[in-house]
């Protein structure tokens, strides 16, 4: 099986790996780099648990080959907290009880961060549409939406 030499940054850190051709970016993150914050739900693009950013764009890491990451800047949920200091979104998810089992949570956090970077003051409708590709079996979404709206307010400094 051919292996490719792939270099990219993850949450700002330069990283180099040898990658099987058929391995997805999700496989690379979880199995090679042991960054298991990114979750696998469906592996077919439907659930959003595997959400990461690639050069700032939100994508499903299960639908991208690892070799495609060459030269890119990858952002994962591990990049949110700074040491022990949680990101505002993480604090607000805890405060609003926006998770139960938690398997969807990394995907929601990464997707929400990408939204707020693009649109710091979204309406509730905008939040719901942006997150339509993230599925949650537990919470019923309402608490997640409230947590994101609250985090947006705090991050705007309002």
């Amino acid at each position: 099986m051919a292996k490719h030499h792939v270099s990219f940054t993850i949450n700002g850190d330069p990283t180099e790996i040898l990658c099987e051709t058929h391995a997805t970016l999700l496989d690379v993150l979880r199995d090679e780099l042991e960054l298991t914050g990114t979750k696998e739900g469906c592996s077919t693009g439907d659930c959003g648990a595997c959400s990461v950013t690639v050069d700032g764009r939100l994508v499903c890491s299960c639908l991208m080959l690892g070799v495609e990451a060459n030269g890119k800047a990858i952002g994962t949920v591990e990049g949110l907290a700074k040491g022990d200091k949680l990101h505002v979104l993480q604090e607000k998810f805890l405060e609003h009880h926006a998770l139960q089992c938690g398997i969807c949570t990394p995907g929601f956090l990464v997707a929400s961060k990408a939204l707020l970077e693009k649109n710091p003051d979204p309406t509730e409708t905008e939040v719901r549409y942006w997150l339509a590709g993230n599925l949650c079996r537990c919470t019923g979404y309402d608490k997640i939406v409230r947590a994101v709206m609250d985090a947006a307010t705090v991050m705007r400094g309002a």
Partner: protein, 285 residues
Amino acid sequence: MRYEAPETLEAATALLAAEMGIARVLAGGTDLLVQMKTDMVDPALVVDLKRIGEMRTITKAVDGFHIGAAVSGAELKEQVELKQHWPGLVEAANLIGSTQIQGRATLGGNLCNASPAADSIPALIAANATVSIFGPKGRRQLAVEDVVLAPRKTALDKGEFVVSFHIPLRAKGMGDAYLRFIPRTEMDIAVVGAGIGLKTDPSGVITAARIGLGAVASRPLHVKAAGDALVGSKLDKAAVDKMVDAVRAACKPIDDKRGTIEFRIKVAGVIAARAAAIAYDRART
């Protein structure tokens, strides 16, 4: 499986043409990777087109927009000028999947995946798009409605791929729209889709109209008779009724869990009439 990411059209064609086994080009991968994972296809060679400059850019020229076939939906959405000219086309492209899917999905992939239900194809038909194809014999152009022949089957020959889409500039009095019917508001495959592009004179009389339909036949359709039914009218009821009849006459849908034949034919008319009303409004403002 081999992976290549050439930087020129010529290199991509040479790789594809030389492969003896199954070769696939890779754009956003949102169809291809799903198909590989579900064992629908097991390519010996994957050629990633995203490092070819012409395929990744949108340019506006005197003759219209040239949209690279490997531009993502998220990038299309940020093209303010394209959206002003062809809001229906950009809306159709942005209906594809979720935010995450939009980050990768391309127009080239949506077309060449050759699904009868692909959302952007009726809108591209309505916008009178032509595709620029590159292959071992060089470049050729094809009307967008002539690319998909049947589910999973295109008019592309071995070694050929779509480089870009060309759509004209919107002249005064032109408007477009795309609507689809799905059982919920997001993340579903069209049960019926209709794209309409039309042109009006200063008094509001329609002088030309193009209607594209999705998910009602084995491939996306350009229904010329439906467009012609609107010409000479100001979208009055008689003309719309005639258009709806022509739309329904062109439908040859399948029965499946998401819609019966009868339902799809009925809804195609309803959706086409609603899209025509939006396109007409846009043409008049």
